[in-house]
């Protein structure tokens, strides 16, 4: 667990270094005429320093790390199972973005919602399909027809 906490600080140190390096290529300027990289450079520097302080505090807080480690051991099995639903949900949503322009709002929303409803009711088919169909159509009428949002039509251009 302590390793993860150390990695937590290390990520910020690396990100800070990255921002500083990016800022230098943007030109820092000087105090009289600050360049495009001036503020980002100092932000990156402070981020790196804060990450380093976080690493140090993790190293020196033995007690907390041991406690976290014990907790970590205790819950590893259940821990990973808990992340399955959020991970699948995100995968469905990223798929939604990929298909949105191609299939259009109505079809993509129907497919995406069916999968999301099915995720919470794996044993049923009819209710998730009915729910997703009604929510997709209702949201289309509210947002596209009533509020005039420019939602992509995709395959259903004729509608």
């Amino acid at each position: 667990m302590k390793r993860y906490l150390l990695a937590d600080g290390l990520i910020w140190v690396l990100l800070g270094i990255g921002i500083c390096a990016g800022s230098v290529t943007l030109k820092l300027g000087d105090f009289r005429t600050p360049g495009a990289g001036f503020l980002p450079f100092f932000a990156g520097l402070l981020l790196g320093i804060s990450g380093f302080i976080l690493m140090l505090s993790t190293l020196f807080s033995q007690e907390k790390a041991q406690r976290d480690e014990a907790e970590g051991r205790d819950r590893t099995g259940r821990h990973f199972r808990r992340f399955v639903t959020p991970a699948v949900t995100m995968a469905i949503l990223f798929g939604y973005v990929l298909l949105l322009d191609l299939l259009g709002f109505l079809l993509t929303t129907f497919i995406c919602l069916s999968l999301l409803f099915k995720l919470s009711e794996p044993e049923r088919w009819v209710r998730p399909l009915l729910l997703s169909c009604s929510v997709a159509v209702l949201s289309y009428f509210v947002f596209s027809v009533w509020l005039q949002c420019q939602l992509p039509k995709g395959l259903l251009k004729f509608w």
């Binding site: 981020l47 990450g51 808990r82 639903t85 949105l100 999301l116 949201s139 949002c149 939602l151």
Partner: protein, 499 residues
């Protein structure tokens, strides 16, 4: 005095127009709804509805969005009292005595005193905003770029200091927020920064997709980890009007909570949440029967509920006088003003009196609407509580997608929202607070502009920040706030070793 009356009459004209009354009602209705529903907060809702407000006037937009903000504080108490699950973080304390009252068959007076307390606190808060905002904004008009720069640093330091977890992690979030705000074309040099050649990033990261991802999507993902099976405590809700004894026990708590909440609400960060805990502790200390707290003491509901409502009024002070957000919600309101072409800051009250005074009067009206909505319609809110989360979450995600897409009709914004959803989820897992990130993200461009202007005025001499009294005072307080937790922790450790 005549000036205030004139402005109040202007505010009445604006707020009592049919359109604005409708938007005020819509705002408080949605606010109560999302306050009742655990798993969606005012931040996610306001960011969701931000694109919907593009077609209406800025005044109507702010009236509606502000209604959602203070309406959510009302609604949050319902779940705390009936379900023992706080609808909002600011209603956590209400669970302690509110739920106990419901178990004793006194759900009605608990809900009643929460609504009346919120109404009184909302009204007191609105009156103070009205009286304090104008003189404060005229003081703020004298602020130059160095003062603004130092004030932003102070605001970020307070945010980090008041963070619930590690101060270092809160500081990291604030710095990350500033860094993210730098993405896009630099307004002065015209150079693109950190866009990695992506066209979608040239205008910078949009506030709506970032907020929706961090607050909306991340919150849904976190809720998906655990089953949110809500069981409403089965009790008949009757006698919503508290009796004289209830009033006698609560009125002091309501008034103290109102003032406490208002002034803590001005502070950047978790002012609203802190005010509820402070109010509860204060009432327990002042009570003749402190042992009844946690067992169903009505003052334990009245004080914190008043405090959280008054703090939502207090949060408008820095927004209207300085153009500073004090929490994620006012950051969104600031964003909404900017999207509508209104420049927030000390000149806002002078240049756009209709927005300021219209919003103030609408807050009075909104508070009356909320009492009407919350007491007679309590049965309806209880029914809504029973909607299963497995049905709710796909709809919430769909609304997030539509909200972020329709801002620019861009699929890229939806992608940004999803990426920030994952980032927000991971941050929550690792104990990072998101409020400093979003406030720093909004204040980042203002910070850079004031830094550049200050250095330009002083011809590159950084002592400009340390020679002007307001600026140096802000920086000194910021330094004390950031360093004091480390010193305190070290001294505690040394003391522990000695003993």
């Amino acid at each position: 005095m005549s000036g205030i009356l004139e402005n109040l009459s202007l505010g009445c004209q604006v707020a009592f127009s049919m359109g604005n009354l409708f938007y005020c009602f819509l705002g408080v209705l949605i606010g109560t709804l999302i306050g009742v529903l655990p798993g969606i907060g005012p931040v996610g809702t306001i960011s969701l509805l931000l694109p919907v407000t593009f077609g209406i006037s800025p005044t109507s937009a702010i009236i509606m969005l502000a209604g959602i903000y203070y309406g959510a504080q009302y609604g949050g108490s319902t779940t705390s009292i009936l379900v023992n699950i706080p609808g909002e973080a600011t209603s956590v304390v209400t669970c302690l005595d509110g739920y106990q009252m419901a178990r004793q068959g006194r759900a009605g007076p608990a809900l009643g005193i929460a609504a009346f307390g919120s109404f009184i606190a909302g009204t007191i808060g609105t009156i103070i905003v009205m009286l304090v905002a104008v003189p404060l904004s005229s003081v703020a008009l004298r602020f130059g770029p160095p003062e603004y720069f130092s004030l932003i640093i102070l605001a970020l330091a307070i945010l980090s200091y008041l963070a619930h977890g590690s101060v270092v992690k809160a500081v990291i979030m604030a710095i990350l927020g500033v860094s993210l705000s730098q993405i896009g074309i630099d307004g002065v040099t015209g150079r693109t920064r950190f866009t990695f050649g992506l066209l979608g990033l040239q205008d910078g990261l949009g506030l709506v997709p970032v907020v929706m991802g961090l607050f909306g999507v991340a919150e849904v993902l976190e809720n998906l980890e655990r089953s949110l099976n809500i069981e409403v405590f089965k009790t008949r809700i009757r006698h919503l009007l508290p009796n004289l004894k209830d009033w006698a026990e609560s009125i002091g708590a309501i008034i103290r909570g109102s003032f406490l909440g208002f002034f803590l609400g001005i502070l950047p960060g978790g002012g609203a949440i802190i005010s509820t805990f402070v109010s509860y502790a204060l009432e327990k200390k002042l009570s003749k029967h402190p042992e009844t707290f946690g067992q169903g003491a009505i003052a334990g509901v009245a004080g914190p509920e008043s405090a959280n409502n008054a703090s939502s009024s207090g949060a408008f002070i820095p927004l209207f006088t300085l153009g500073f957000p004090s929490n994620a919600i006012t950051a969104l309101l600031l964003g909404a003003l900017m999207i509508h072409g209104v420049q927030p800051g000390p000149a806002l009250i002078e240049k756009h009196p209709d927005i300021f005074w219209g919003t103030i009067i609408s807050m009075y009206i909104g508070n009356v609407m909320l009492v009407i909505l919350n007491l007679p319609l309590i049965g309806l809110w209880v029914k809504i509580l029973k909607v299963p989360y497995k049905i709710l979450f796909p709809v919430l995600l769909l609304l997030c997608i539509i909200g972020s897409y329709s801002t620019n009709n861009s699929r890229f914004d939806v992608l940004i929202m999803l990426i920030f959803g994952v980032i927000g989820y991971v941050f929550r897992k690792f104990g990072y607070e998101l409020a400093p990130l979003i406030i720093a993200f909004v204040l980042g461009p203002m910070l850079e502009t004031s830094l550049r202007q200050s250095l330009l005025i002083s011809k590159g001499d950084v002592s400009i920040f340390f020679t002007r009294p307001i600026s140096v005072a802000c920086l000194a307080i910021a330094l004390v706030l950031l360093v004091s937790p480390i010193i305190l922790r070290q001294s505690r450790r040394i003391r522990a070793k000695i003993t």
